[in-house]
């Protein structure tokens, strides 16, 4: 594995269409980022070194990259040249057990990769749609031998089909709209998948915590079993706002990081020698672009930890 330059902190934004955080969609196709996102990027441009956009479909048209160029151009042109661009996919559906034709998805994605020099594509390993119908939250794949074989097959196909690096993200086990079928230990499942395909991985710290909660590794046991993960193949961490409600973990993406996420970040950083970046996913900010007050304490803690890590570990 080639050691890469550490990028430090990145921002990840789920770009809605006509939502609070996202693009203004226009009937003439001349879409653009909205004022709120624009203000946020301007305010924190110097803090981050890379950006991911999470894909949301713009329309019910056959997937064509050209339909998204105006919108994506508008956000990328606000960034300095040194910014690395990453794309969080939502269509790869790596956990599906059905015949799933990705040719249109590859064509679409490779045009984006080409246009924007996207350095890696990330998506949560899981079942995003089933028989063409979306789920409210991606479910973990079937945690069975057959489920694992299928994931391996899907990941290999995707690695072959994309013109850039794929990072497979450890799935979430959040309370509220998420359950799983099958007894395979998720860390072992993920490690085998990574070993068999030689893919890079993304570890979402909240997703890791959600699984720790599920298997009873809470409190002092929070760091147990993490060595079972493919830490050497980890390229990226995600941190997004989470909460714990009635002893259950919730992946809320509301911008406010838990103390446990900060502790886990500190613990895992030195163990992931090939890590390139830490993404603050779905920050929440006001109209003027400033982060909401509740998110600030742990945002700054995360920033300090990541800055120190980056400064001490420029390459490898």
């Amino acid at each position: 594995m080639i050691r890469q330059k550490k990028l430090g902190l990145g921002m990840g934004i789920d770009m809605e269409w006509n939502g609070k955080f996202g693009f203004n969609k226009r009937p003439d196709g001349k879409d653009s980022i909205n004022e709120r996102v624009s203000s946020f990027i301007e305010e924190y441009r110097e803090v981050f070194n890379y950006l991911f956009i999470a894909f949301q479909p713009r329309s019910y048209n056959v997937l064509r990259a050209e339909e998204y160029f105006n919108a994506y151009d508008s956000i990328y042109r606000t960034l300095p040249d040194y910014y690395v661009k990453v794309f969080h996919h939502t269509l790869l559906n790596m956990g599906t057990m059905e015949r799933y034709d990705r040719s249109e998805i590859f064509q679409f994605t490779n045009k984006l990769i080409d246009r924007y020099d996207i350095k890696w594509i990330v998506e949560d390993l899981g079942i995003w749609t089933i028989k063409g119908k979306p789920l409210p939250y991606p479910l973990p794949p079937l945690m069975t031998e057959e489920g694992l074989e299928n994931c391996i097959k899907n990941v290999k196909e995707i690695m072959n089909g994309l013109n850039t690096t794929l990072c497979v993200e450890f799935p979430g086990y959040t309370e509220g709209t998420n359950f799983h079928i099958g007894k395979y230990n998720a860390y072992e499942f993920f490690k085998i998948l990574s070993d068999e395909t030689n893919c890079y991985v993304t570890l979402d710290i909240g997703h890791i915590l959600s699984y720790q909660y599920l298997i009873g590794n809470t409190g002092n046991k929070m760091f147990n079993d993490l060595d079972k993960l493919p830490l050497q193949q980890c390229k990226e961490f995600h941190l997004s706002g989470c909460s714990i409600t009635n002893g259950k973990f919730r992946d809320l993406h509301h911008g406010v990081l838990l103390n446990e996420q900060i502790s886990l970040l500190e613990y895992l950083l030195p163990k992931c020698e090939n890590l390139v970046g830490v993404t603050y996913e779905d920050p929440k900010y006001r109209e003027n672009g400033l982060l909401i007050e509740k998110s600030l304490p742990n945002f700054y803690k995360m920033k300090e930890i990541v800055d120190n890590w980056q400064n001490c570990n420029q390459y490898g």
């Binding site: 009937p27 329309s59 063409g132 099958g182």
Partner: protein, 273 residues
Amino acid sequence: MDNGSISLYECLYNLIHKKSYREAYLQRDYSALKLNDSDLIHLTTIDDDELIKTAQKTKLYLYKGNTSSNGGLSYYFPITISVLEKDLEINIFEYIDEFMESCYFDLYTEVPFTGKGTCIQESFYLFVSSYFMNNESAKYVVDLCLFEFYNSIYSMILTNINYNFKIHSTNLIHKNNNIFWSTISLTSLLINKLKTNYNIPNEEEIIYLFCINKDNKIIKGEINEGINLIISHHNVKKILAKKDEITKNNLSENDLLTLTSLMVEKGMIYDNL
């Protein structure tokens, strides 16, 4: 796999989308799940509360939509749903459960990568139409649903020139190259229910047209019987060939030619002379 057994993946689909299947599971009626014994063991990891919440949220998103592209059934069928609830005292969420149990729901796809299916609007209309099939007193509900189906699908076709779904009801949505059209007879009862939301003038009975013309512009509104007779013939050559048949229906030859010329001008039929 044994005869009659389904896969674990199919089971997952049913658990989320089919209320009767989910309830059989929650009551631990395993024989009803149609799984192999070797697959049953994998279900022990399911958190029942989470399964219920996932199913509820799936249903809620069907009702109110989940993205800016998908408005949900409440957005596409506001009058139909209001009539179901108020006139027929149907609990809409229980009705949606029945919809999700139906084969019409299975036709629907939001993304096409496992094969193109119908849009949710068509799927729902087909269900409502089937549900009230032998119920003459509820025919007006089916017609309301048809109107709202037309209204939403024509908007979708207009804004999605390369749409990624199939239109199953080609007997209702007529297509001739890139012209689409449908007509519906609106009685005074239907007009009364629809007029506020859809800006229909207060009339006794009208024929209402939805059309996307050859220039991808939408034309909708009241039409006369003449236009209704002509439009089904698609192009000028066919219209002139069927002139005698068309003019049997209280339409003079002069009016036929005038209307044909107007419809060509508006891009509703092709001039292939």
